[in-house]
């Protein structure tokens, strides 16, 4: 097994934008996961806002937790969720000094202008109506900020 090709493979995986999909509906999570994987993204899913915050390193033990978890480049959250809504999650992300730079997209099955305004005012990058299409996801890729972290020397060629 050629060790350099394994390194390249791992680098490619690391360089894929990492999307966090938050939705209480399993079907919606699966569909969004598929849409983003088809657009060459790495996807992690969360079934609640609380779980999402934990994955973003903002859980209850964030002060003692040394490892902040995986680097997320984009958060896509459903608006209507029991407990912490997508709007609540958006607020928490934008209020946090660590993760406020991460773009948050809010998705909803309902076209409510006041809801859309509220989310955009709170700092949502975009508000998209469900069901999401592949074309929506392709457009979102430009919102994803990811830095290529070059660890050590960059190996070019053999």
């Amino acid at each position: 097994m050629d060790s350099s090709s394994t390194t390249v493979g791992m680098k490619e995986e690391e360089e894929k934008p990492h999307v966090l999909v938050v939705d209480d509906s399993l079907i919606d999570r699966k569909i969004m996961e598929k849409l983003f994987t088809n657009s060459a993204c790495k996807v992690t899913t969360a079934e609640s806002g609380q779980k999402a915050l934990e994955l973003l390193g903002q859980g209850e033990d964030k002060h003692t937790h040394m490892n902040k978890g995986p680097k997320i480049n984009l958060v896509v959250t459903d608006y209507c969720m029991p407990g912490m809504t997508g709007y609540d999650l958006l607020r928490k992300v934008k209020e946090s000094s660590d993760i406020k730079e991460i773009p948050v997209i809010v998705v909803s099955s309902e076209n409510v202008p006041t809801r859309i305004e509220k989310c955009l005012e709170e700092g949502a990058q975009e508000f998209i109506l469900k069901p999401l299409k592949q074309s929506d996801v392709k457009k979102l890729r430009c919102h994803m900020q990811f830095r290529r972290s070059i660890k050590g020397r960059l190996c070019i060629g053999a």
Binding site: D24, S25, L26, I27, D28, K30, I31, K34, L35, N38, C80, P82, S109, K130, P131, K133, Q134
Partner: protein, 152 residues
């Protein structure tokens, strides 16, 4: 022995009728397009989750309406979820019943709600059997060496 071509024609006719009758819509086509060789059971798996999820939702709704006082707010949340998943899978008729259902909940119209629940159950049973027939045809086509025709 039915040929792959005959099965494909049957499949195309069946899907067309499902679209005309409103059982499925463009969202379902979009989901078919998401499927690829690396994950050939994506759609079957998704529909399976939908069927199970829907059954649970319908049972929850039935229980909610058996209570002395109906909690319309809770019911509305469940129907909203049902509407979401129906819409996402492309189950149009079911989704439309949910829209009506949500309106009746807002009005706290018990008769309207009960009628909708009955309709939702009915539509659920219908769409479940349509999906079953569709996937059975797909299996037959693949077994006969053909490929699944896509709706355009």
């Amino acid at each position: 022995m039915v040929s792959a071509t005959q099965l494909q024609r049957q499949y195309a006719e069946y899907t067309t009728s499902l679209y005309h009758e409103g059982y499925l819509n463009d969202q379902f086509t979009q989901l078919q397009k998401l499927q690829d060789e690396s994950d050939p059971d994506f759609l079957v798996g998704l529909v399976s989750v939908f069927i199970d999820d829907s059954k649970k939702l319908l049972d929850t709704l039935t229980t909610a309406f058996q209570q002395k006082t109906v909690d319309y707010k809770q019911v509305s949340l469940h129907v909203h979820r049902f509407k979401g998943s129906s819409s996402n899978i492309g189950a149009q008729r079911l989704m439309r019943v949910c829209v009506l259902f949500i309106n009746y909940c807002k009005e706290k119209n018990l008769d309207g709600c009960l009628w909708c629940l009955q309709q939702a159950n009915h539509e659920y049973i219908l769409v479940r059997s349509k999906f079953k027939a569709l996937f059975k045809l797909e299996k037959q086509i693949l077994k006969a060496g053909g490929s699944i025709p896509m709706m355009e």
